[in-house]
């Protein structure tokens, strides 16, 4: 049904990461397809890493660990953006195009009135992506 799942992850909030990654891995196992974890970071030092290369290594370690624990093929891809807070959606769309993924599984908060001002990334992505988007609340 699908050939590749893409899951955006935010390494700064690992505690919120598990549910979306578990969902993605379960679905991937069901169809026997690979998962791509996508991270977006800034060039400036962040809470996770001092530079983008360090971030990429961290994400690769998470991917490797997930693959070992679940037996599903998990790959990592890190992107840098000038202003990640406003470019996450565009980065995910770019990653979808780069990887040829056809299903996005991602965490998203439940809709709030604040979305009128600053829309949720998952919500915005679903209305811009041509492929299927699975939002994990």
């Amino acid at each position: 049904m699908y050939s590749k799942i893409l899951t955006p992850v935010d390494l700064a909030h690992r505690e919120r990461l598990a549910k979306a990654v578990d969902t993605a891995v379960d679905l991937a196992r069901h169809w026997g397809i690979p998962v791509v974890l996508v991270g977006v970071t800034e060039a400036a030092p962040s809470a996770v890493a001092r530079n983008p290369q360090e971030y990429a290594r961290e994400l690769a370690a998470v991917a490797e660990e997930t693959a070992r624990a679940t037996g599903v093929a998990v790959e990592a891809r890190t992107y840098t953006a000038h202003d990640p807070a406003t470019q996450i959606d565009d980065t995910i769309l770019k990653a979808v195009a780069d990887t040829g993924a056809d299903l996005v599984v991602m965490a998203s908060h439940a809709p709030t009135v604040g979305d009128a001002l600053v829309p949720s990334h998952g919500g915005r992505l679903a209305s811009h992506a041509a492929i299927s988007v699975f939002l994990v609340r």
Partner: protein, 551 residues
């Protein structure tokens, strides 16, 4: 896939991580970015802010606004007195420090340390030259060039030609250096040199020092992108404690009040301009509407982000400014301006040693009231502009960075001042038009444009430029304040930066209606003094930091 390190930067600003970007020498610190941050849920918005910098900055700012509004009659003389005390007693310190910054920048361009690349040896530039330049000007100087491009050359020309006047052995005239009594050509030359002196190498060196220090300690050394990081080589781990909190709070304070007061004054000036041009009412109501409009556009811009908002607006602004400059050059006295560019550049070089001399000055009114005031002012803006420049300068070598932040903007300033100021002086000297000379500051630009054809169109472009320059200062300022108050996190939740943009607009309105713009601007300029010390220490940190980088 796209992993070739020699690739061009993706125009979308989003890049797959390339192969390692070359060795840097990170500083080993126990501090993790965000370790002092608190995450809050305020209504529907999640926030991620530095504790205690965010809270203290916000409360100090509110306290100063309330105090100023409540006791403005006593507060204004106090703050203005503080500023005047600093610029008159410590003029030698400001002038001397600014010379140090210029000399250090020039030495670094020429030295082997210039080969160090910000972000690692193989790092690629984040922005194209066009986008980069547009942002440099839009954040740092654009608005000033609009207002002082015509008025300052005329001022210096008029005082210079008036010559020296003294009373009881003290000079009472405002002429630069010895003036040029009665000599029109020499007064024009001195007037242009003195103006260019305030807008060329020195201000850009001040910005460049802050920007270079931040970029180096952030991209190469791995420290958070916030002002306190410059101090790591001096204070060590203590910068993560109260020493650093104080520096960051001071930076937020200077930036916010610098922006809010110029927004307030800018609204007054833009409103006067609109009244002059289109006969619109020049009332408090229209000024408040202007501030709201500027803040509204800035809000959309920061919400759209650095690339889709700030950079795009800056580029629009640069094109408009280039069109206006091109128009003045072509329609004004073209040959005079083109020849004047080289003459003024030469006059600047010739007068530079005397103008920048920090001790034994006889022109106290000029060297303290103009130069020292300007230096304090540029320096109080430097945490904001410097941090913004650092944010967009990754991937350049130190040499390229300094050439592009110091030399090229200086040449643009010379051209701008020659075109606008030179045309205005020409109107006075050879055509006897004194309208510009007699007009109030905020109308001088428009009076000068009245002396040229197509006045309605050019004045309209002028007023749009003024307004958009305020927007580009406001949005980049909000980004900077947000990053500082989030402990150096550049990806803090978007509502935070929107909060700062709104806060700044509200302060401008409160001070405009309640009085106190002048008082708090004086206070903001006074922060130039502590930041001069910061910058001098920054010079030491830069050299030390660069020495340990692979070249």
């Amino acid at each position: 896939m796209n992993d070739d390190p020699t690739r061009a930067p993706d125009p979308s600003g989003i890049d797959a991580i390339p192969a390692p970007e070359g060795a840097t020498t990170p500083i080993d610190t126990d501090y993790t970015i965000g370790q002092d941050n608190v995450e809050l849920q305020v209504g529907p918005f999640g926030l991620d802010i530095h504790n205690p910098v965010f809270l203290i900055s916000g409360l100090t700012v509110v306290a100063f606004v309330v105090l100023t509004l409540a006791f403005q009659n006593s507060v204004e003389p106090l703050f203005a007195g503080l500023r005047d005390f600093l610029t008159s007693t410590l003029d030698w310190f400001f002038l001397g420090a600014a010379n140090v910054f210029v000399v250090l920048c020039l030495v670094l361009i020429a030295s082997p340390l210039g080969k160090v690349r910000l972000g690692g040896r193989e790092a690629t530039p984040d922005y194209s030259y066009i986008g980069w330049f547009a942002m440099l000007f839009a954040a740092g100087m654009g608005i000033g060039l609009m207002f002082y491009g015509v008025s300052e050359p005329i001022s210096h020309y008029s005082t210079a030609i008036g010559g020296i006047a003294s009373e009881g052995g003290v000079r009472t005239d405002w002429a630069p250096l010895g003036g040029a009594a009665g000599d029109q050509a020499e007064a024009a030359r001195l007037g242009m040199a003195a103006t260019i002196f305030h807008w060329a190498l020195h201000p850009w060196a001040i910005y460049a020092i802050v920007a270079l220090a931040l970029a180096l300690f952030s991209y190469n050394k791995g420290l958070p992108l916030t002002i306190r990081s410059i101090f790591y080589p001096v204070f060590g781990e203590r910068v993560w404690g109260w020493t650093g909190h104080v520096i960051d709070v001071l930076a937020v304070f200077a930036t916010l009040f610098g922006l809010a007061t110029s927004l307030g004054f800018g609204a007054e000036q833009a409103s006067a301009g609109l009244a002059f041009l289109f006969g619109l009412p020049d009332t408090d109501g229209s000024k408040v509407v202007l501030i709201l409009a500027i803040t509204g556009v800035a809000l959309i811009s920061v919400a759209a982000g650095l690339d889709a908002g700030v950079k795009r607006l800056s580029e629009v602004n640069m094109v408009l400014a280039a069109v206006l400059l091109g128009f003045v050059v072509l329609v004004g006295p073209t040959m005079l301006i083109l020849g004047g560019f080289f003459q003024n550049l030469w006059a600047y070089v010739a007068y530079l040693p005397a103008l920048s001399n920090p001790v034994g000055r006889e022109d106290a009114n000029f060297s303290q009231g103009w130069t020292a005031f300007y230096w304090a002012w540029w320096i109080s803006w430097s945490p904001f502009v410097g941090m913004f420049i650092a944010r967009v300068s990754r991937g350049r070598t130190v040499r390229e960075f300094l050439t592009c932040v110091l030399i090229i903007p200086s040449l643009v300033s010379v051209l701008w001042m020659t075109a606008f100021g030179g045309t205005a002086i020409d109107q006075i000297v050879s055509r006897g038009i004194t309208a510009v000379q007699d007009a109030p500051l905020e109308l001088k630009l428009f009076e000068m444009l009245q002396g040229l054809p197509l006045t309605q169109i050019t004045s309209f472009v002028g007023i749009v430029l003024v307004i958009v320059f305020f927007v580009t200062s406001s949005d980049s300022g909000s980004l900077v304040i947000d990053t500082i108050t989030a402990g150096g996190k550049v990806n803090a939740p978007v509502p935070q930066r929107m909060f700062w943009a709104v806060f700044e607009g509200l302060i401008a309105i409160a001070l405009l209606l309640g009085g106190g713009l002048a008082a708090l601007q004086a206070m903001a300029v006074s922060t130039g003094f502590p930041f001069t010390i910061v910058l001098l220490l920054g010079c030491f940190a830069i050299v030390k930091g660069l020495m340990s980088e692979p070249r």
